[in-house]
């Protein structure tokens, strides 16, 4: 039986041969299952929003209401965290939210979760981080460095507090990426392990017979556990997308409203 970690393997589906990249050496160009999962997620988001906005009415139908509530939630979030300039950054936050959400949710339906790949989550984390840096530099110029100069701290302590601020600032993309990656990886591994118990213990009970029939309740318990964890994983899939968006907004707020005191 496949191990619990094998579901995260990136497999090439259509290969186009190898190319020689200067620094990285020989690389295989292929459409992988990761590629397919991300494309389905993207098409799903675009399809969902076009369906939700096609034939928009004053009194929304089901599809439109679903789209509007998602839109309204992130809009509310961006405005309450970033303030009156939140609208400007709303498209970025909404894009991030929908992409992470759809990749997380697709992981519950497909055999492969795109967000359980560190490469994918690090890319998302870096996009969020670099956006924050670029927005900060464009909006504040050199004043961006005030982020690492805590005016509230005693003068003697400021360099040290600033250094800690700098390190925690540089760690942001890593924690963003690891949180998403770890949650998706951990959840799916646990799900798979409990699902394996059902089959393995059930098979052991039937094959061995006799006293081993006592394993049947344990297998049934694992089955219940699998169902409960599946429900939990849906919650986690949504929650992690939400948290990713909230944190992106908070980081953006740091540089957009720099020095306004908050």
């Amino acid at each position: 039986m496949a191990g619990p970690i094998e579901q995260f393997e990136v497999k090439p589906l259509v290969e186009f041969g190898t190319v020689n990249v200067p620094v990285l050496g020989e690389q295989v160009i292929a459409i992988t299952n990761s590629h397919v999962a991300m494309t389905i997620a993207f098409v799903g988001v675009v399809g969902f929003l076009s369906l939700a906005t096609s034939g928009a009415k004053v009194v929304p139908g089901r599809m439109q209401a679903a789209g509007e509530s998602l839109f309204g939630m992130v809009d509310n979030l961006a405005n309450s965290i970033i303030g009156h300039e939140g609208r400007k950054y709303f498209p970025f936050a909404f894009t991030m939210f929908l992409m992470v959400l759809s990749m997380n949710l697709l992981g519950m339906f497909l055999t492969f979760t795109a967000t359980s790949q560190l490469a994918v989550t690090v890319t998302l984390g870096l996009i969020a981080f670099l956006t924050v840096v670029v927005v900060g530099l464009v909006k504040n110029g050199v004043g961006f460095l005030k982020l690492f100069w805590p005016a509230g701290a005693p003068l003697l302590l400021r360099p040290f507090v600033g250094l800690i601020e700098l390190v925690s600032f540089l760690l942001r993309p890593i924690t963003l990426a690891l949180r998403l990656f770890g949650n998706m990886l951990g959840g799916h591994v646990a799900l798979k392990i409990f699902a394996q118990f059902v089959v393995q213990l059930g098979a052991a009970a039937i094959v061995t017979g006799g006293l081993a029939y006592a394993l049947i309740p344990v297998a049934a318990l694992s089955l219940g556990m699998t169902v409960a964890m599946t429900a939990l994983e849906f919650l986690v899939a949504f929650l992690q997308a939400f948290v990713f968006t909230v944190l992106t907004c908070i980081y953006l707020n740091d540089v957009v409203n720099l020095g306004d005191g908050h």
């Binding site: 970690i5 979030l77 309450s80 924690t175 690891l178 949180r179 990656f181 770890g182 949650n183 990886l185 951990g186 929650l239 992690q240 939400f242 948290v243 909230v246 944190l247 908070i250």
Partner: protein, 74 residues
Amino acid sequence: MDAEAAKYIGAGLATLGMIGSALAVGNIFGNFLAGALRNPAAAASQVGNLFVGAALAEALGILAFVLGVLMIFG
């Protein structure tokens, strides 16, 4: 000791870091409930903060998990 065995023991020890994360997440939700029951009107506005706090606390537990995974597969 066999290096392979030490790897698994290390991975097991790394998961102990999740204890702290579990305490932290429980603390956050417990305190939220305590606060929400005292002032239910203000509770809804703090749900966002609740989840951000829970996510920040949980991230450290996830780091312990990632360390364990790195020890076995790294």
